[in-house]
Symmetry: C2
Amino acid sequence: MKPLFLITNDDGYYSRGLQHLVSVAGEFGDVVVMAPDRNASGLSTSITTSRPLRVHPVGNGAENHFACDGTPADCVKMGYEHFCPRRPDIVLSGINYGSNASINVIYSGTIGAVLEACLDGFAAIGFSVLSHSPETDFNACTPTIRHILQQALLHPIPAGSALNVNIPRLPANQIKGVKVCRQAQAQWVDSLEKRTDPIGRPYWWMTGKFVCDNPPHDSDQYALNQGYVSVVPIRPDFTDYAAFGSIQYFEK
Amino acid sequence: MKPLFLITNDDGYYSRGLQHLVSVAGEFGDVVVMAPDRNASGLSTSITTSRPLRVHPVGNGAENHFACDGTPADCVKMGYEHFCPRRPDIVLSGINYGSNASINVIYSGTIGAVLEACLDGFAAIGFSVLSHSPETDFNACTPTIRHILQQALLHPIPAGSALNVNIPRLPANQIKGVKVCRQAQAQWVDSLEKRTDPIGRPYWWMTGKFVCDNPPHDSDQYALNQGYVSVVPIRPDFTDYAAFGSIQYFEK
């Protein structure tokens, strides 16, 4: 039987990035799409508990493409529990417009979906390209996606782990290769910009400047800066194992 | 100068858990509250990028209590960037109704706020109690919160790390002590319950059963099951360091 891919994203069903990923994954197996029905960027691993969820077939639903009014993580649960004809072999998320390297991963709905899939016991991969432009050339991502899918089908991703793949914004023949990395530390500074509405009341827009000076050579941000694709193995565990010994004073 | 606490939560400003935390923290220093203006549970580390944010003083604002129409992570950024009279010494989140132990941490808006504060360079602590009951006796949490705040003011939390504190639902004198732990692995199964609306269309409610059999003895879930408070050092890094060597086949 062909491999089955469950595919979602956080930019919403109508994103060109999603459609491109669907087309490349379709070379390797069958596809079910369950994607947010609108932009769901920045939703992290949110789940929807305060209202019920609806699912809309795209077209007549015969192609197994669906849009859901929930978050990316909701879409993963919905997709494999209720809309996949068999257990998906790999859950894919993306291609996201914009970097999910370094600490961006923590806000990312694209990666929220990947972490949800990982918690649910699935192999999972998130793809992002370092471009927010509507003219992004997703064809330049195709060789990378083919390589990663081929490898993931040949050598299963270790259980409990998932992949966060970021692709530099370069023509395919200028991408230097693929590097396995760790997540770089960084900061978003000056986050909220204050403005005044027409009747004099304040409001704030989320904005900010990404600061990641001198990222370590084994980090995703460094690899991307050098023109490589970064692959970070991730897992849904926030434990700071290094801090263990130094906080024993909290015990009693 | 007295310590300054910036306090938020995910259950919303009107939660008794928040009000209790404000009152205990007030014994140790000054307090600024910037909390979501409504329930924001399950929002993880979401940030709001698609619309601007508003802030509403509670009462006349003289007590430095504010409600914001954003997520818990938004509230942290808003609080320290625009509403704190000086740099907060510790960012607090909670007291959350319900467990944020084990993998619940990944969905938690309470912990989303803590991770945001950690990324922004602040010491941060999230408090949760293992009860969803509106009659929850938050006074039973007071000795634990006092102990943790005392320790955190005496011996700073290591830079880059934050604390996820879960309190069992027990009278104060039956709580056995405080244990430093790691996050237990677990699963939510059977997540989405299908129903049919009055005109025959399907919808789904997020639900599910938490399964965490035989948690390891050094995990938060085990400590809580034994009647201890669990303290997990956490940090915003998803890298699966253990998987590094075994995924080199993705390189090229």
